[in-house]
Each structure stands twice: as C-alpha cells, then as structure tokens.
C-alpha cells in the first residue's frame, strides 16, 4: 500500500510545476508570464441566450500597481478556435489583435489554413474594433453586426488555493485548509471578451473550442 506522501512525491516529480499557476497561467517556459501567456479561457451562454461568450485572458497575476502599465502586444494574435464537426480541427476562428490602442476582431470566419500558423483574415465578413479600455475607467464596449467586443484589464476571474496546493505537493501539508485562501484574490489580467450569435458558430449542437496565442 503506497502511502499518500510517497505517491504525491512521485507525482511531484512528474508535475513539478503542478499548479505553478493553475488554469493555464505560466504553464510553460517559452511563454511564462509574457504577453503571449494565456491564463484562462471561458465559453458560456450570454445574457442574450441566442449568443455565446468567449473570454480569453493573458498576462496573469497583475497587481493593481502593475495593471495600468500592462499592454497587449501588437505582435501577439489571440485566436479563438472553433471546431463544429468534432474532429478537433478548427472550422472557424475569431482573431483579435491590437493596433495603436484599438483591438481588432476578425471572424467567426473559416481560416485560410488550420494549425500552427495563421494569417489574419482581414477580408472576413464579420469584423469589429473596440478601443482598448484603460485601467480605472469604465469598460468600452464595441458592437457590430450582432457581436460585442471588449479588451482591457479586468479582475482575474480565476480562483484557487494555489499556495496550499504547492504545500501539499512539496510534502509540507496533507490536505487543503478549510476555508482555503484564494491565491488570485486582488490580481488582474488583460482580458478579451467577444460575444457572438450562436448562428454564426454552428447554431446548435456541441462545438469544441480552444484559444491560441500566435506571435509574429
């Protein structure tokens, strides 16, 4: 009978950075903490139930003091991928990329090519643009052709007792505390939110979706 600590010890080798910050924050060395580091991805039905909302967050763990100076990189394309036929290959993309204080959106549109490399679909029928919201100012919302757009700093919606998990993995604790402590409390992210009519992404059934950052 393996005891828990030894099991976790083995686990810790395999997953040394387990929850080095949880949802996808700082998940891998090549992107860790940079402008292309995806922290989180959400997809949920909108207030208008005919719509679906996508949230893609980058650059996690911003303190309030760091937030005003945090910016989206013009060399980082944020691409929401949508698979409508269950083969885990994107049939549609929604692309977001900043230029001079505005966030531009292209899609949903069939990408010119699937996979690791993308070009920006500037001829997409569905497009939008919104001024990037500034810290401590009211959020600026762009709308066009049934879609809504936001880009700017928000509270990090992720919550977890990451610190205690680290203690468990390190062998310093055998379980979580009650109550736990939200390691992400009081921190911000740069967020891209886009709301899109479901009819533009398959209308009905189940889609598979994921977010990518792509750099130039």
């Amino acid at each position: 009978m393996k005891n828990l600590k030894s099991i976790l010890g083995v686990g810790a080798l395999a997953v040394a950075s387990f929850f080095t910050i949880a949802a996808d924050h700082i998940d891998a060395p090549a992107v860790s903490g940079g402008s292309s580091d995806v922290t989180d991805f959400y997809a949920f039905q909108g207030e208008n139930t005919e719509n679906l909302v996508f949230v893609a967050n980058v650059q996690g763990l911003l303190s309030p003091g760091e937030t005003a100076g945090a910016t989206f990189s013009e060399n980082v394309l944020v691409e929401i991928n949508i698979d409508t036929d269950g083969d885990a290959v994107e049939d549609l993309v929604i692309q977001a990329i900043p230029r001079d204080g505005d966030m531009y959106f292209f899609g949903p549109v069939a990408p010119a090519q699937t996979g690791l490399d993308s070009s920006i679909q500037t001829t997409a029928t569905q497009q939008g643009v919104v001024e990037i919201s500034r810290y401590n100012e009211a959020p600026i919302i762009g709308t066009n052709a049934g879609m809504s757009f936001f880009a700017g700093p928000r509270d990090d919606p992720f919550f977890m007792d990451f610190a205690q998990y680290t203690e468990i993995i390190a062998g310093n604790a055998t379980g979580f505390n009650t109550p736990g402590t939200d390691t992400f409390a009081g921190t911000n992210v740069l967020s891209i939110v886009v709301e899109v009519p479901k009819r533009l992404i398959g209308n009905s059934g189940t889609i598979n979706t994921w977010v990518e950052t792509k750099t130039k």
Binding site: V55, E131, Y135, F176, V193, G205, N208, E212
Partner: protein
C-alpha cells in the same frame, strides 16, 4: 495581386469608417491603416483549465502548447495516464474510476485532446451537478471539479482533504451583462 490590394484597401477603408463612427476622440481617422500582414506562429494554447499545468511533464510543456489538438491524444495520452496514476491514489487499479465512470485510461483519453466542449443549446458549465462539460462559466469552481475527478474516486468521497481546495467563488462578483468580468482591482 491587384485584386488583393483592392480588397485590402476596401477592408481598410471600411475599418477607418467604422473606427471613425465609433471612436469618441476620433484619433483613428488620421492614423495610417493598420498593417495586419504576415504569419503568426503558435506560442500558447488552452482548452480546458489546468490540463497542461497538471498533466504534462515539465519538459514537454512547450511541446504540448505547439501540438495541435487533433494530434494531442496520440502524443500525450500515455503521459497523462502515467502522471495521473502517479498523482492520485484514487486510480490505483485499472478498474478504478472517477465519478464520471472513467478509468485512468478513459479519463486521460478525454483530457488529452485539450479542447473545451461547449453546448449551443442551453446550460453552459464545466460541471454543475447535472450538466458535465457543456462549457465553462465564470463562476464554475473548475479546480474543485478537477480535484474531485482526479482524487475523489467513484463517488467523490475518496481523499476528501485533497479533492476540494475550499475556495468556491471569485473574489469579486461577476456582472450579469457584457463584459461579464468584474472591474480590475
């Protein structure tokens, strides 16, 4: 070639018009047209929360981020299963399952293709007690759900001290309307 330029120009023009009518300060009317040319190459990706962080061995994390989802299962399912069974005492035998009825092999087979499954027909939640993997809402306690599926065993009762981090909600309430996320701290 010429056609492409004309198309590009018309798109750019439509942008400028759009920016002009929607931009309070009117700055963008005098700016150069944005340049969107070039190829953008993959850096990071994410479907379900915490999958790369939890299940991918550190030396493979960058590789995982650059493996397209349709190829992730073939490349990473074995690694995921090895790491899951090493991590969780709830998967000691091949017959052990989690509360979804999935063995370590089946569970990691599901997770290795790191995409978020989203229903277009109603409730969207990671898990709400009834609906499973129909989306991810802001308020979903995804970490506790994942801890339960990793450590909680067949009926969520195993390893109780490991299967809930006891942080059940965000530190600020979400908005009911767009952009839904709370204002920054």
């Amino acid at each position: 070639m010429k056609t492409l330029k004309i198309v590009t120009l018309s798109v750019v023009l439509s942008f400028l018009t759009f920016s002009c009518s929607n931009d309070d300060n009117g700055d963008s009317t005098i700016e150069e047209a944005p340049d969107f040319s070039g190829t953008y190459s993959q850096a990071d990706q994410m479907g379900r929360p915490a999958v790369n962080t939890v299940f991918v061995t550190p030396s493979s994390k960058d590789t995982f981020n650059r493996t397209i989802p349709s190829e992730q299962n073939a490349t990473f399912q074995n690694m995921f299963e090895t790491n899951l069974t090493a991590l969780s005492p709830a998967f000691t035998t091949a017959e052990d399952t989690n509360a979804l009825g999935l063995t370590a092999s089946e569970f990691t087979g599901l997770l290795a293709t790191d995409v978020l499954n989203v229903s277009l027909d109603g409730t969207t939640t990671f898990f709400d007690g009834t609906n499973v993997l129909t989306g991810r809402a802001l308020a979903d306690d995804v970490i506790t759900v994942e801890l339960l599926l990793i450590f909680g065993g067949e009926d969520f009762t195993e390893n109780p001290s490991l299967s809930n981090d006891n942080v059940d909600a965000n530190d600020k309430p979400f908005l009911t309307s767009f952009p839904y996320l709370a204002s920054p701290w």
